[in-house]
Symmetry: C2
Subunit: 141 residues, 2 copies
DNA sequence: AAGAACTTTAGAATGATTCGAAAAATGCAC
DNA sequence: GTGCATTTTTCGAATCATTCTAAAGTTCTT
């Protein structure tokens, strides 16, 4: 076990403690995979695969549970770009996305790079929870 | 059978002909339900229910087939606001959406009401297919 | 009417996600 | 530390939306 691993592990544990989540074996592994490599977008299936590749046996049900708990704790957000598969995003700052349907490529657009001129009037008794902009791309002709 | 029904039916048939789709019994019914009541957003399940309520027995598989055909012909577009359920939109003009997750409410925002200040630079060899803006709302505190 | 092409259909299959209930791990009180 | 209450994990079954398959039915052209 290298020093770097131990460090990442401790960071993951700190993160979980601060979020009020018990640092169980599987949560620590998933937090490590998710948060020690910069911003990323993953599906449950992908994350499960990575944890497995890391030598950690975690059930897919636990991966789903954990993703939802992390989301609830504000460590992750969900990105909706495809009806049929849920992406989770480690970047919780305000930002938007490029999406290439054919390849599944999902890439961040910094929040400041886009802004809207005006907001239309909202339906009665509602407030804005969040504005999601998805720029759908395709291969250049 | 009233005159209005006959008229809506003929319009539906014309629409299908112009789109190069054979006006089969089930396509005519679905086109009528979809296009003779102003802009709307439906799921396959909803549309199937409405057709049934109209006295037309159509299999759910056919509803799915038809929605995809209509989409392919440019009569419908798909709106992605929820990973898990596909919405089809009879409004094919450029526009955006308000979405209330809790209730499933999906409402149009006219295209002109929103505009972006600038577009960030795109990934290599890609062009914009479409820009989708979803303003997610929740009940006012 | 006949044949070719296209469409519908039921039901099985798939894929993503959730559920239920039992087993395991964890945190606290003694 | 031990014991107990609480939380978490896990497997497998269940669910839900959607797609597939192959057979049966319809439509269009001649
Ligand atoms: Mn979810
Ligand atoms: Mn689709
Ligand atoms: Zn992102
Ligand atoms: Zn719309």
């Amino acid at each position: 076990m290298k020093k770097a691993d131990t460090e990442a592990r401790e960071q993951a544990i700190t993160l979980l403690n601060e979020a009020g989540l018990r640092p169980t074996r599987q949560r620590v592994v998933l937090a490590q995979v998710l948060f020690s490599n910069g911003d990323r977008h993953v599906t449950a299936e992908q994350l499960h695969g990575e944890a497995e590749a890391d030598g950690a046996a975690i059930s897919l049900a636990t991966v789903y549970n954990t993703l939802h708990q992390f989301k609830g704790a504000g460590l992750l957000r969900e990105v909706v770009v495809d009806s049929g598969r849920a992406y989770f995003d480690t970047n919780t700052k305000e930002h938007h996305h490029f999406y290439v349907e054919k390849t599944g490529l999902l890439e961040d657009i910094a929040g400041e790079l886009i802004s809207m001129t005006s907001l239309p009037k909202l339906p009665e008794n509602k407030v804005v929870d969040r504005v999601d902009i998805v720029i759908r791309l395709r291969e250049k002709a």
